[in-house]
């Protein structure tokens, strides 16, 4: 039974990568650290459990990264996806520090996959965790336990006592029992609020009921809300989230990565009214997959169907749930609950607009439509070979952008612009400082690792003084 009455040096709220990097760094600096993880042990790790890699700067090839990836290119990539909604100083600091993130994680027992040159387009920029995020989380917890860090599972932090930017005590529910915990420094790494449907409803109304939460159901945003309500400065658009095209039949929470569908560029996508609404072939999928969640969220009923034929089925990764399959477009519409006559018209209209070209999956080819609105700019092939397929789609939310403002030492900034005396933040709860919109694959884990280490270092330093 942990001693909840003592005065701890550092309380880390959260149990994902950002939280554990902070806890481990603080413990290595000599602090007595306690981690409050809302989830039970088997579901620990927040959204890190579902991740796979992190994006790391490297001037030369390493055993897990090919070629090189330098600051300017990294910065350009970030600038492009965020459309400039970022903090250049924080972003560049993160990018530079990312060079040392894989080494730190490796010292914590994380195993990386050897670089797979050519097979994955990301193997130049991103280091892959062998076995994925849960294996990483396991390694970090093992390291934390070895360092004597107290880990409280099933422990929800419900309130932080904050007086003029100084946090003193946390109100917890520890395995269902109320408790209070005193500390010298606080690291908030409790994630966003994407699993809090009531909160999402404030911005999205009833549509929020149709959003699937891809990751942990414990991202309720309780600590985020609590801090913002006590004078911490907010950052990021509260209405915005990162979302992908998910299988409509996925579980409403915690369906994870395998629920995403890659079929969009090789299909046409119609909404409930059997209308196309966006160019499915605008760009290669890694550059477009993150916009489709939002696109579907804006459709009536927050649902869509990706329709293709027998020749497309091998162009994308297999799906967990099989697509609807029929020998005619009308029958396929029936299986989807769509208007058969209208779907036949839409497919016929699309087929008539397809120009001849040479199909090349994964690269921008010359298969496109002409005179169609919206157009399909690449990979446009006639949908004519039965059996026809339809994958039902819904928006799958990965994370929200709202966060607490921090400075380059991970210190939380109060609404009046002054830094908090003893509150620090890392991970999704502060990622909005750098990622104002959009997403760069593996960058969330980079932010979590970089800011986790800084937050842990600063929290331990404050506790010592």
């Amino acid at each position: 039974m942990p001693d909840l009455n003592r005065l701890w040096d550092v309380l880390v709220v959260g149990g994902g990568n950002a939280a554990l990097c902070a806890a481990i760094t603080a413990a290595q600096a000599g602090a007595r650290v306690v981690v409050a993880e809302h989830a039970p042990k088997p579901m620990r790790g927040g959204n890190s459990r579902h991740t796979r890699n992190l994006r790391a700067l490297h001037p030369a090839p390493t055993d897990v990264l090919t070629d090189s990836y330098l600051e300017e290119e990294y910065w350009d990539d970030l600038l492009r996806v965020t459309g400039g909604r970022t903090d250049e100083a924080l972003a560049r600091m993160t990018i530079r520090a990312s060079q040392h993130a894989p080494g730190f994680l490796r010292d914590c027992g994380v195993v990386f996959q050897p670089s797979l040159s050519g097979t994955l387009s990301l193997s130049r920029t991103n280091a892959f965790f062998l076995g994925g995020g849960k294996a990483l989380v396991n390694a970090l917890y093992r390291t934390a336990e070895r360092l004597g860090i107290e880990i409280l599972y099933d422990t929800e932090v419900q309130h932080i006592e904050v007086q003029e930017g100084f946090a003193t005590e946390a109100v917890l529910s520890h395995r269902g029992f109320p408790a209070r915990l005193r500390f010298k420094s606080l690291v908030a790494s409790a994630g966003g609020f994407q699993a809090n449907r009531e909160w999402l409803r404030q911005y999205w109304g009833d549509a929020a009921d149709n959003f699937q939460i891809r990751g942990t159901p414990y991202a309720q945003g309780r600590v985020l809300r609590n801090l913002l309500d006590q004078g911490v400065q907010e950052v990021g658009d509260p209405t915005q989230f990162h979302a992908v095209a998910n299988d409509a039949r996925a579980p409403m929470e915690d369906g994870g990565l395998a629920m995403r569908l890659d079929c969009v560029p090789y299909s046409i996508v119609v909404n409930r009214d059997v209308e196309r609404f966006y160019d499915e072939g605008e760009d290669v999928w890694p550059k477009r997959y993150a916009i489709w969640g939002r696109l579907i969220a804006q459709q009536p009923g927050q649902v869509a169907w990706a329709v293709s034929d027998a020749q497309a089925i091998h162009d994308y990764l297999p799906s967990v749930f099989p697509p609807h399959r029929a020998d005619s477009i009308a029958d396929l519409a029936g299986l989807c609950g769509l208007d058969p006559a209208k779907l036949e018209r839409v497919v016929a209209g699309y087929n008539a607009a397809v120009r001849p070209g040479t199909f090349r999956g994964g690269v921008l080819d010359d298969c496109r439509t002409e005179g169609l609105a919206p157009p399909k700019s690449h990979w446009a092939r006639r949908i004519e070979r039965p059996p026809f397929h339809a994958h039902p789609l819904r928006p799958g939310i990965t994370f929200t952008f709202l966060g607490v403002k921090v400075n380059e030492r991970a210190r939380v900034i109060m609404a009046d612009g002054r830094p908090s005396a003893n509150m620090f933040a890392s991970g999704e709860i502060m990622a909005g400082n750098i990622l104002g919109q959009g997403y760069l694959a593996g960058f969330g884990m980079t932010i979590g690792t970089v800011f986790g280490r800084i937050a842990g270092e600063e929290a331990a330093r404050h506790a010592r003084n």
């Binding site: 088997p42 459990r49 027992g109 050897p114 062998l130 076995g131 995020g133 849960k134």
Partner: protein, 381 residues
């Protein structure tokens, strides 16, 4: 074309394995662990034969379980090591020859234990019943000491008939498995794949996880099972070499056992026996202390039983060496030979068959890997 070829049967376990592989094939986070996941990724649809092949490719290293975001208590409940272990066992039963003997896999721990007890008892009873007590209980020394307890012709007859039967049964089982799982797939045979498969078998590459090891005990990485299995496997081979060299001594050079301690057969047998004891005891210990979640508990009885039998075979062999100049030699020899015969008979109807099916699966996998590499090279050219 092959309409009469027997197909692997559809069972609940096959359906469950298919459900899990369809999740894994959309996720693919585990592609770096072992041969199973790249082999899975070559496929989109999974026939019962494919799944049986993948199950036999699995070495139960459990890396994929501890890394799985869909492992219980997630509702998807993905547990590939336990599901594949159950599917392997179903295959052992399905392809056993003669077919009715497959039922021995249902309560395999009991079956193997009873077999061992029966043979050990019979051997001792027969030795006591037919042998002159004056010979059986007195110390025997000099050339032919063992054969004064049990005549050489009888030893040879019993060993040859039991082992011979087992080899035939194994071969028939392997043939039936190969046929039903698709005759090694479409990929062509060749020397290079066979060489790769041999390396995989002899080094247990798939228990190495690329150098950092497997999740032997919990979610930490270790090579414990790999080294223990090596001790057992190579200990077994040393014992086999001891028997072979003993036969050569006898038939080629006319040197009759017991041989001196420093002779080749005794040295090979001693070190082989020591390694076998370490390997089998160690593997049993791993089974006791490991995280039980990714383990198919229903199969543990049979696994413990065959490890115990192998341990007893080697331990009685070592004891026989220790007491061979005393009056206890007679009974120890009978006990040892009884257990050896029980082991020979148990080979096709116990966990021992995994060696054959795993090797066939590795061979097929090596062929598929070579074919894929060739296809990629052709594409790139």
């Amino acid at each position: 074309m092959h309409a009469t070829r027997p197909a692997a049967p559809e069972t609940d376990t096959v359906a469950e394995a298919r459900r899990q592989m369809e999740i894994c094939n959309a996720c693919r986070y585990c592609e770096g662990y072992c041969a199973v996941f790249p082999a899975m990724a070559m496929r989109r649809d999974f026939t019962a034969g494919d799944l049986t092949h993948l199950a036999n490719l699995c070495h139960s290293c459990k890396g994929c379980y501890h890394a799985c975001q869909y492992a219980p208590p997630h509702p998807f409940g993905v547990n590939v090591p336990a599901t594949f272990a159950t599917l392997r066992q179903e295959g052992y039963a399905t392809y056993a020859w003669p077919a009715p003997m497959g039922r021995l896999f249902e309560r395999n721990g009991t079956a193997v234990s009873l077999l061992a007890a029966l043979f050990a008892m019979l051997a001792m009873v027969v030795a006591v019943a037919v042998q002159d007590p004056a010979v059986l209980w007195s110390s025997q020394t000099g050339p032919g000491a063992f054969y004064r307890i049990i005549p050489l012709w009888l030893m040879n007859a019993l060993a040859t008939s039991t082992l011979g039967f087992s080899v035939v049964a194994l071969a028939m089982g392997g043939w039936r498995y190969w046929q039903a799982t698709g005759r090694g797939g479409a990929a062509p045979a060749g020397v290079a794949p066979a060489r790769d498969a041999a390396v995989d078998i002899l080094t247990l590459r798939n228990l190495g996880g690329g150098g950092h090891g497997c999740n032997d005990l919990d979610d930490s990485f270790a090579q414990t099972r790999r080294w223990l299995h090596h001790a057992m496997f190579y200990g077994f081979l040393l014992c086999f070499a001891a028997t072979t060299s003993g036969a050569a001594y006898h038939h080629l050079f006319g040197w009759t056992s017991p041989h001196p301690f420093w002779s080749l057969p005794v040295q090979l047998g001693t070190w082989g026996g020591v390694l076998l004891c370490i390997g089998t005891a160690g593997l049993a210990w791993v089974k006791v202390v490991t995280d039980p979640a990714p383990v198919a508990r229903r199969l543990l009885g049979g696994e413990y039983a065959i490890l115990a039998l192998l341990f007893l075979v080697s331990a009685t062999g070592l004891l026989l060496l220790a007491v061979r100049h005393t009056g206890a030699m007679g009974l120890m020899l009978a006990l040892h030979l009884g257990l050896v015969l029980a082991f020979f008979v148990a080979i096709p109807y116990s966990k021992m068959v995994h060696g054959l099916y795993r090797s066939l699966a590795l061979l097929r996998n090596a062929r598929e890997r070579h074919a894929l590499r060739r296809a990629k090279t052709t594409q790139g050219a």
